[in-house]
Amino acid sequence: MTVVDETPPAEAAAVEAVPLAPEVPDVPRRIGGLTRSGVLSLFGAAASGLCTAVLLFGELAPFSGSLGFFVTAYAAFLLVYAVLTGLEEDGQAVRDRVMTVVLWTAAGLLFTALALVVGFTAWRGREALPHGNFFTQDMQAAGPLDPLTNGGIAHAMLGTLIMITIALTITVPLGLACAVYLNQIPGRFSRFVRTIVEAMTALPSIVAGLMVYAVWILGLGMQKSGLAAGFAISVMMLPIVIRAADVVLRLVPGNLTEAAEALGAPRWRTVWHVVLPTARSGLATAVILGTARGIGETSPVLLTAGFTAALNANPTNGPMISLPLAVFNFVRSPEPTMIARGFGAAAVLMALVLVLFAIARVIGGRGPGHQSKRQARRAARASRQDLERFDELNAARGAGNCATSHEAPAPDDEPASAPTHGDSH
């Protein structure tokens, strides 16, 4: 991709026009980019693929349904495109063109699926979402046959909020500290911990729920509650947060930490003043992405939180419900209004995840070590102050006639903050 050659077409044509050249002329290959004939054959092939499908479909092809139509059309399109490209290019280039189209298709399919999932949820959620009571009431007074103007998902929203708060209180300190451990204290044990954590990132979420059920509810005899669900979500989120934070911390430039250590900073100061601030945005992203995963998990909550239709703000007492669990319970009912409520709750959940992602994107938009404008200004100001202080110090020394002495003690935060400033200029 980096060596795209911009050969003007005229020149290429001129080279080809030389008759009877004994040696093959060196024409740089075009890599990527679009040519006019390429675009034309793409459209031609698309049109003929579509026509072939219309012609064949229902007559010869044994498919039925819209899916079959698209498959037939696509196969015909690829075939025609290969032939059209083959008219003016060699075999390698034909393969390249066809595979490029196939790669576009694969990505297109995946992103179409994403759009369909998000769009379908929002579309079906449109019945329940416009009702204000949907966000302010719980389901205690609303039966399955009640219209949408009665009852809502306030209890599930509150439950999700409480559970994710519990989970974050546990996973953020533990997860970030563990990630720092994996990065800062290398050795056999930390490698072992890393292996275990990586294997646990794909821990089936229902197993996390089962474990908390076994320990908290069967073992300690507690009842199902928001707290237990928070624990279950923590067990599931912890490896995810550790792994994401570990990856981010690895990206902290080595020269920053080396500079801090060269200035004599102890390890913990280097971590606190250099490594963590440098990776701040990435760590925030790691935590937010973990949160997005934790919010959406149903199965750990299913086993540990119980079920309730009433608002419950106390995580230690009585069952509590979360948004995904509410969705799950709503759509198990055959009543259309309950299913509409389920889609409404799913749309709210989806919106929550999207908002978290938008925040993560805004915070994590910069790589590690890159500062926002405000941070850069703050760093520059601190730098200027340091400079003034040094000047004053030197002036005082000059006045006191002890320019050769180097006993001036460095201020506390000096070794740590200096390298970051250096980086910003």
Binding site: M1, R29, I31, G32, P62, F63, S64, G65, S66, L67, Q92, R95, D96, T100, V102, L103, T105, A107, L110, F111, A113, F120, R124, C178, Y181, Q184, I185, F189, V197, E198, M200, T201, A202, P204, S205, I206, V207, L210, M211, A214, L218, V235, R250, G254, P266, W268, R269, R293, G296, T298, S299, L303, P324, F328, V331, G342, A346, L349, M350, V353
Partner: protein, 324 residues
């Protein structure tokens, strides 16, 4: 590790070290507790019937001591197999697209979108599969069973090939539908692992391939794919682990049966995790122990798959440390 200067061995640093090591131990303990407590709780049920019988019985009637995971394990593996077969080409294609084909400006956005897709709650996928996707897949299911029905896996009992009046309901709630939905859930996870490895393919070798006159696909085939093979295998297995552990989406789509169901297009299937979700509410103490045993089996299975995956990915990863 370089020689540490004197200041790094002070009291503050020693405390810092111990504290961090302690968090490492705590995390490890939590992870170990998952396996340990499942084992403790499962012991009662496993002792009652024996491991061999537990693995070979298809029924699930723990209260008369007649239970096993043969049916649910088959279902889990089949759902995961369908998911992986469908998701791997999608994931490899998308990863290559993002790393080499997509316009440079789009790439970051595409990466975010893949991450977003991985974070879409599984209950939302389940809703989508149940209320939208299923009715569109039936055509494909019917076609597969009509034309490939002679392959045992695609056989559907009670239908004749080409019979236009056959009811659609034999194709609903099948392993195939659940597998396709799970494929969409695991494809983004696989894709992000693969993309990371593809992006690390050395620039020198890429440009070398171009300099020798390779097309873009030629370069991908001779540089990126061989280099990223570890990532492809590792990502695939990571997706496999996730697919086997998926609960809610599968539970919402399938209609549970407790016989070994090898016909993926036919209605009725099961999986270990949906067995747990189905029965945890009405289980007796012994039944709960049996469910814990099923959970333990699932846990060990996914752990084995994930270990293999992460070791393969780790071996293919070059230069963990990056310099600015």
């Amino acid at each position: 590790m370089p020689h540490r200067p004197q200041s790094a061995c002070g009291l503050g640093d020693r405390l810092f070290r111990h504290q961090l090591t302690a968090t490492g131990v705590v995390v490890l303990a939590i992870m170990a507790a998952v396996g340990l407590f499942l084992l403790l709780r499962a012991a009662q049920a496993l002792r009652a019937v024996g491991v061999v019988k537990f693995l070979t019985t298809a029924e699930w009637q723990p209260d008369v001591h007649k239970f096993g995971i043969a049916a649910v394990l088959t279902g889990t593996l089949l759902v995961a197999a369908v998911a992986v077969v469908v998701s791997v080409p999608l994931a490899v294609g998308t990863a290559l697209f993002i790393s080499d084909v997509a316009p440079r400006k789009l790439r970051r956005t595409l990466v975010t979108m893949v991450d977003l897709m991985a974070a879409v709650p599984s209950v939302v996928y389940g809703l989508w599969g149940l209320f939208f996707f299923q009715q569109h897949v039936i055509g494909l299911s019917r076609w597969l069973s009509d034309w490939l029905g002679w392959i045992p896996v695609f056989k559907v009992d009670g239908t004749q090939p080409g019979e236009p009046l056959a009811s659609d309901s034999v194709y609903t709630a099948s392993t195939f539908v659940a597998g396709l939905v799970v494929a969409l859930m695991v494809a983004p996870i696989q894709c992000s692992v693969m993309r990371e490895v593809f992006a690390q393919a050395p620039a020198g070798e890429r440009e070398g391939a171009y300099a020798l006159g390779a097309t873009r696909w030629g370069m991908i085939r001779s540089v990126v794919l061989p280099y990223g093979m570890g990532g492809i295998i590792g990502g695939t297995m990571l997706g496999l682990g996730r697919a086997m552990g998926e609960t809610i989406a599968v539970y919402m789509i399938i209609s549970p049966v407790f016989v070994i169901q090898p016909h993926i297009l036919q209605t009725g299937s099961n999986s270990v995790s949906s067995l747990i979700a189905l029965h945890y509410g009405d289980a007796s103490t012994f039944g709960m122990s049996a469910l814990m045993a099923a959970g333990l089996a699932l846990f060990l299975l996914t752990l084995a798959v994930n270990f293999t995956a992460s070791s393969i990915v780790a071996r293919s990863r070059s230069g963990a440390q990056s310099e600015a």
